[in-house]
Amino acid sequence: MVEAKPLKSVSVQTAPPPAAAPGEEYLIEVAGLNLHYGHAHALKDISFKLRERMVSAFIGPSGCGKSTLLRCFNRMNDLIDSVRASGRIKIGGQDIMGGDIDVIELRRRVGMVFQKSNPFPKSIYENIAYGLKLQRHRSKSDLDAVVEKSLRDSALWDEVKDRLHASALGLSGGQQQRLCIARAIAIEPGIILMDEPASALDPIATAKIEELILKLKKNFTILIVTHNMQQAARISDYTAFFYLGELVEFDTTSRIFTNPANKRTEDYVTGRFG
């Protein structure tokens, strides 16, 4: 292997992720996952394991299946007719690809933030309360408390506390995305899936989102797809590099960006393609 050159424009997290205690289980285990869009073989034999309360980034050139993989974790691919998937995805020991799984319940435990923010055309309060009201009857004070907590945890509370009942569509792009994050965490999922959450935002808003992710990591397991390698390097503990539907390499972020095992990984990460 060629001697690794330090990458110029990438700053890696200085503190390496905590080592796994012996015997600690993995929260997510993927084994032999294959997915077809009609005739196209979009995901080829993917296998990896993730621990909880980590940020894992999926990187790779566009169109190589990262978003598709992400959507497997909350079975959102079910909405597309031509998709056929096989293999195993275990979350907390249960295979969520199984036929007896209540998909709706799954989606309550695995939250999602989309690339383009999509708040409902309702008030800020109603957006966050929506997911809560689906689950069980709560008193108004209960709802108020959870809404406030979610907004605080998403670093949005100070900016909107005086206009909770104003339309969510009146917020800026960055604020809307943080609102979507608040909406997702309000129902207390264990895992949050983020599909390029900051790609449509300006640098300042992006920085705020990244800050938020680092904060959320304490309580949630986060899987994030991103085009922005520097972002992956900044915020993730583990990184998976995908190319043309295959998982090429999966390792701690520092290793991937400083000393990748696979040549293709190195080429991508040093900017030779992609």
């Binding site: 909405l79 999509n118 409902f120 929506y130 997911g131 689906l134 909406r183």
Partner: protein
């Protein structure tokens, strides 16, 4: 073009509005006064249009005047004969005619005294339209929600054209169906007096309105951005919850417009009500009585009304009324749609 229509129908009914028509037969001008009238006055007195008047011999005109005088003398003892029944007071408010013992709203253009109260007609139209909307709106909206949000895509492609096929059935055929099939069924269920009534007409009319409301509502529901649906589903809603709590509220302007347009269609429909409503011009709020709508009245009576007569002009007048009502409701629907759509898109 619309303006043209308005103008020419208005033209025919203008005399009614301006109070120039006069159905009082007791008033007459003695024959020997004929030469004292200008040709124009004479023409109007004899209720002839300009084309009819031209070229008529003096003999002819004199004869007509004599006829009128006779008429007047015969009806002299009937006090109603002195009334101009096309004045607004008689067309809108109840009046106690000489052979009735209390004030009534009556539309009865035939007979000696022509009664033109339009309230029974308006009530009839409203009754039938209300029944039609009550039946068709929930049905169409439910179907629209199902087809656009809840059912698999392949089935949707089959159902949509199916319901649009209903739109292709001419209203004559629906009226025919109402007469031959529905009348029997409904009478069997409810056991009422007259088989043709507002309920039957309303039900059949509902069938005609369903495709209108359905296609506009379904369009509106499908136009709601898919990102909302995805967000809702990702939070763990079922398809119904996403549809009912997110999509439907977002599509409210379109749904409202669908209902308004359905109303316009219902109130303007002619053939179905003509065949199924019974056509008795009785003033009644009951749904089980025979009813007569504005449209059916025009259709049924225009053929018999003498051109240029007060009856003729009154029929045109209610036509104008109908036109104005549908025009306004269409306008309202359009405005609401535009404004709310602007609000939804403007913020985005």
């Amino acid at each position: 073009m619309v303006f043209l229509i308005f103008v020419f129908i208005g033209r025919e009914s203008l005399p009614v509005f301006l109070g120039k028509t006069d159905t009082a037969t007791a008033k007459f001008i003695p024959v020997d006064q004929m030469d004292h009238l200008t040709p124009e006055q004479l023409r109007q007195y004899l209720l002839l249009s300009p084309a009819e008047f031209k070229g008529k011999s003096r003999e002819f005109l004199r004869h007509k005047m004599e006829l009128r005088e006779e008429e007047a003398k015969e009806s002299g003892d009937n006090k109603d004969a002195a009334i101009n029944t096309t004045r607004w007071r008689y067309m809108l408010r109840p009046y106690q005619w000489s052979d009735y013992n209390r004030p009534e709203f009556i539309w009865q253009p035939r007979g000696e005294i022509q009664k033109f109260n339009i309230i029974p007609l308006v009530v009839g139209s409203l009754k039938v339209t209300t029944v039609a909307l009550l039946i068709s709106v929930p049905l169409s909206l439910a179907a629209a929600i199902f087809v656009s949000q809840l059912c698999p895509v392949r089935i949707r492609e089959l159902i949509k054209p199916g319901i649009e096929l209903l739109a292709g059935i001419p209203s004559v055929v629906l009226g025919f169906f109402a007469l031959n099939v529905m009348a029997g069924v409904l009478q069997g269920i409810f056991h009422y007096r007259s088989a043709l009534n507002a309920l039957l007409a309303g039900a059949a009319l509902g069938l005609a309105v369903v495709p209108v409301v359905f296609s506009i509502a379904e369009d509106a529901l499908t136009s709601v951005p898919r990102s909302y649906v995805q967000a809702a589903l990702a939070l763990g809603s079922s398809r119904w919850q996403a549809a009912w709590q997110v999509v439907v509220p977002a599509a409210v302007p379109g749904i409202f417009a669908a209902i308004v347009l359905g109303f316009g269609r219902a109130i303007g429909e002619t053939m179905i009500v003509l065949m199924a409503s019974g056509n008795a011009g009785v003033m009644s709020w009951s749904l089980l009585d025979s009813a007569r709508t504005i449209t059916a009245t025009i259709a049924a009576e225009l053929g018999e009304a003498v051109q240029g007569s007060p009856h003729y002009r009154v029929l045109f007048m209610i036509g104008v009324l109908l036109f104005v009502v549908t025009f306004l409701s269409n306008l309202a629907g359009e405005l609401v749609m535009q404004r709310l759509k602007g609000r939804l898109e403007g913020k985005r």
